[in-house]
């Protein structure tokens, strides 16, 4: 009794929409970044699950996953840099209050 492919995709979809809801709903910029990471993870799971559709792992799906890892890491680094630079200017991390481009 093996786990069907659809179950993995369903888990990936639920996680993706959880992260999506988090981005839309939370105020703290760091938490929004964390929810973006959740969405990237969900995409990775879908990629790996689909790469196993024809029996054994197709390596092209895994290569794509590695590139998604690279991009996620780069994005977290630069995103945190932006948050900390903005925090140094005005010590708020609430996205509703960082709405002025001036200063």
């Amino acid at each position: 009794m093996t786990v069907p492919l659809g179950a993995y995709i369903a888990v990936s979809a639920v996680l993706f929409f959880t992260g999506c809801a988090g981005v839309l709903v939370r105020r703290n910029a760091v938490v929004i970044l964390m929810c973006v990471e959740l969405m990237l993870n969900a995409a990775n799971l879908a990629l790996v699950a689909f790469s196993r559709k024809y029996g054994s792992i197709d390596e092209r799906g895994s290569v794509f996953v590695i590139f998604v890892f690279v991009i996620a890491a780069a994005e977290v680094a630069v995103g945190l840099g932006i948050i900390l630079a903005a925090y140094r200017n005005r010590p708020v991390v609430d996205v509703d209050e960082i709405h002025q481009m001036k200063g």
């Binding site: 888990v11 988090g22 054994s56 792992i57 390596e59 092209r60 890491a73 945190l80």
Partner: protein, 175 residues
């Protein structure tokens, strides 16, 4: 007595871990707890990769996400202060509308995704040799571009967080 029941049980436990961790990140007020539960989500995700037979990807997942990205997020949490406030103010004004929208899209998609089927898994030797050959031959050019991207991100993060001369002078005067 066969051991066939192990795979669905492990899958159920891991998927509970993944989804519960994700929900915790969205719903919890304490950011450090949310960051640690996000790390727990990443670990459960690595377990799912192992269950799918991609153990190299699982190792990279733990190495990159739990080992580096979680620490980065914790640094970000520790250096910014989000003041204590009543619970309702942790969520933005559009929370109810956003929740309705997301649920309206998520539920049909989740139900539809159960319809995907795949071939029964063949026992293989693991994904490392095929992955390694593919990255360094077929996908060598994107691999190099990814390195340049990482270099640009590193330089960008350093430049963004550097203090300029006026701030340096102010800090030195304060000391």
């Amino acid at each position: 007595m066969t051991f066939d029941f192990v795979e669905p049980v492990v899958f159920a436990l891991l998927s509970i871990g993944v989804i519960a961790g994700g929900a915790a990140v969205v719903l919890l007020n304490r950011i450090t707890a949310a960051a640690l539960l996000m790390a727990f989500t990443f670990l459960s995700m690595a377990g799912m990769f192992v269950l799918l037979g991609a153990e190299t990807i699982a190792a990279f997942q733990v190495l990159i996400y739990v080992g580096a990205i979680t620490v980065l997020i914790l640094y970000g949490v520790m250096f910014t202060k989000f003041s204590d406030r009543p619970r309702a103010l942790f969520f933005q004004r559009q929370t109810p509308i956003a929740a309705v929208f997301v649920a309206a899209v998520a539920i049909p998609v989740a139900l539809f995704s159960f319809s995907f089927t795949g071939a029964p898994p063949r026992p293989g030797g693991g994904d490392l040799p095929a992955l390694a050959t593919s990255v360094f031959t077929d996908f060598a050019f994107p691999f190099e571009i990814a390195s340049v991207l990482l270099l640009a991100a590193m330089v960008g993060a350093i430049v963004l967080t550097r203090r300029d001369d006026a701030e340096e002078a102010a800090m030195r005067r304060r000391r």
